[in-house]
Symmetry: C2
Subunit: 404 residues, 2 copies
């Protein structure tokens, strides 16, 4: 009789956002007259930029003609996109990354879930707490995380690095040495970030202890301050210790388009085993390339027209972030993030639990956010609002919150 | 110091199609005057059907407008596509499959590579020999296959089921009981298939021994004979023992578009563990939904217009298949497949090895095919040609082969 992967059965309950969706749906059913404003999930709302729409249409037309039709894409991505990434995301920032170190994919979620596969089954992972759930859950599925403790909401074999207001949301080097370190800056969910100098310390640490940093740079486009790195490869020595995962979801509104990439430097090795070659093998075996149409859309992100339009789109969302931040502060809340990221992380008032505040906000202001505790035990007492709504809704949500 | 997944290092050499590409490229460089015709890789060449192009453009336009813009898709697929699949691929064939048993993905290669994840690490797999390399390689990466024997080209912990002219390309039940059985009918690479009665015997066998069949139905649209099942769920009892993987690549030319789906019935359980729930969890954790644009294109495959256009497209390729089959037979070759599948599997003449015949065909006829031995030891002495070229090139290739 066949048997299942028992690690899956260790995963607790349902996914955070499913629970939220259920609660919201129940409230909406019971209160059909109330207009709910959703500032919960990190999904964009602005339409695709005209330059991207144009590129998509052009690529579709190519697929309609035998002379220009494209079948299987190169597993690792078309050169036109990999070269555009190299030029714009790396060379322009002084980072020496080559096109064959770029792996184009259907998005950062797939990559951040799959990347653990190329590491040993007993690799010890370290994550910030609170954290994007995919890093931990994908390692649970692979059996790396030990047992779940329902009381503490933690796994026995995971190193948690608290990031809270007490340490200014800057994780400290863990006491126990990890083999894999997941870092996401600007951070989801806290919306905070660390300086380039602080990131350099992490790179030095990883090189010193022989760890690999999985660096999630999905929110890089929202950085507004000068002393923050847009790529981990701005730090010296990162090519021997870091993999960088990038998304087009947040800088170009591709959440429903699906495109991302991962950088695995050729200098990243364990003895003679090249992680670049291993990830290429995984891509070639379990993936069949990102769609041609999407890769042309990705290329348009780097066109002069595309860049100008997306700069505006990001400014639009960051104006929402400012609106939320200022509005909450005016209402007396303690607020973090929102300067280099589209997320605002607030301290719940009166020591309310994250879920109590979720219910309070939903019932009293009809605004949906995300309870911080859903991202890990150290998220308890915090709450996330996102800047990805429309400006009008964001303003109205804040007006309601200020009246509470 | 971090360690890598050592299983990856067991994988022999480079991927079959990379080796072919290298050989062809070397030949082309050395013989710039020769016009090479490629009937090797299973990639389509006809442009997307007009109904699909129309759906793609319409979906792109929706993404350009704030009112109709789509962000994250539901992880498991939009209802409009899952319902169209249920109606057309299952209900119309008398199969009782529900929409929540359909998981839309970026393609059958991803699904057939990832599906092994939800099974136990020590699950014994059985594959046909020759076989699509992804089934074995993805299990190598997970450590299920034991050690590789370079002499025999086999893995110590894999059950091989020979499919050769001697057994009419019908695999026999293995002596040792497997937990996972990979079956692909119509078959890649042999282009042959089994009858519905024979498939029913496999379903009965799997239910009897408690195995799961991973059924790859990527070539279903090419079936021309009545006694062949289009879906394994046409067989009684398949819902308690079979997962079906379907592609839009071959029935609709989506190799560069990327769309597929997998059916995991709710009746498929190991004790109280539901494989449907486990696959949903994997999809939700390591995947972020197939793109909206692609899902609308998938929906168009099932429109009246789309169906009529794709019927013509398949007839076009099957006419190529007939051209290859008839042409080879006329030239004295022993030929299989090409009736219910776009692949022709020929016995190499004069006991030539598969690779010798590859070189012979490339040098003398400037035609590229795929050596059978690349699909497994029992593919030695065979050679695959595909019907996915243009009609003109197919005719010319056969003229050249007939002159040899």
């Amino acid at each position: 009789m066949f048997k299942v992967n028992e690690n899956y059965l260790k995963l607790p309950g349902s996914y955070l956002f499913s629970t939220i969706a259920k609660k919201v749906s129940e409230f909406a059913d019971a209160n059909p007259d109330k207009e709910i404003i959703r500032l919960g999930i990190g999904d964009v709302t602005q339409p695709l930029a005209p330059a991207i729409v144009k590129a998509l249409h052009a690529a579709v037309d190519e697929m309609a003609n035998a002379d220009t039709f494209k079948g299987y894409a190169p597993d690792l991505g078309y050169d036109f996109l990999r070269n555009a990434i190299v030029e714009n995301d790396y060379k322009a920032r002084g980072c020496d990354i080559a096109a064959d170190e770029i792996f184009v994919s259907d998005g950062a979620k797939s990559d951040s879930g799959n990347i653990q596969e190329i590491f040993s089954a007993d690799a010890k992972i370290a994550v910030c707490d609170p954290v994007y759930p995919v890093y931990v859950d994908s390692n649970v599925m692979s059996g790396r995380t030990g047992e779940y403790d329902e009381k503490t909401g933690t796994w026995s074999n995971v190193i948690y690095m608290p990031t809270t207001m007490e340490n200014g949301f800057v994780p400290e080097f863990p006491k126990e040495t990890p083999q894999l370190i997941y870092l996401c800056f600007p951070n989801n969910p806290t919306g905070t970030t660390i300086t380039k100098t602080q990131l350099q310390e992490w790179v030095d640490y990883a090189n010193r202890v022989g760890a690999v940093i999985i660096y999630d740079a999905a929110y890089e486009a929202y950085i507004s301050e000068d002393n923050v790195a847009h790529s981990i490869y701005e730090c010296k020595g990162a090519k021997t210790c870091a993999i960088e995962i990038k998304s087009f979801s947040k800088n170009a509104g591709f959440t429903g388009v699906r495109l991302g990439y991962t950088v695995v430097p050729k200098d990243l090795k364990c003895g003679s085993a090249s992680l670049n070659a291993m990830w290429a093998r995984r891509h070639g075996t379990k993936f069949n390339g990102a769609p041609y149409i999407q890769q042309r859309a990705g290329e348009a992100v780097y066109s002069a027209e595309g860049k100008a339009q997306l700069k505006e789109q990001i400014a639009y969302y960051m104006n929402n972030a400012k609106t939320i931040k200022d509005g909450l502060e005016k209402a007396g809340y303690t607020v973090f993030g929102g300067v280099n990221a589209p997320y605002i992380w607030l301290k719940t008032p009166d020591n309310m639990s994250s879920w109590d505040f979720f219910d309070f906000l939903l019932e009293k202001a009809n605004v949906v956010g995300t309870p911080g505790s859903g991202f890990g035990p150290n998220g308890e007492g915090y709450f996330r609002l996102t800047a990805f709504g429309s400006y009008e809704n964001t303003v109205r949500a804040l007006e309601r919150i200020q009246k509470l």
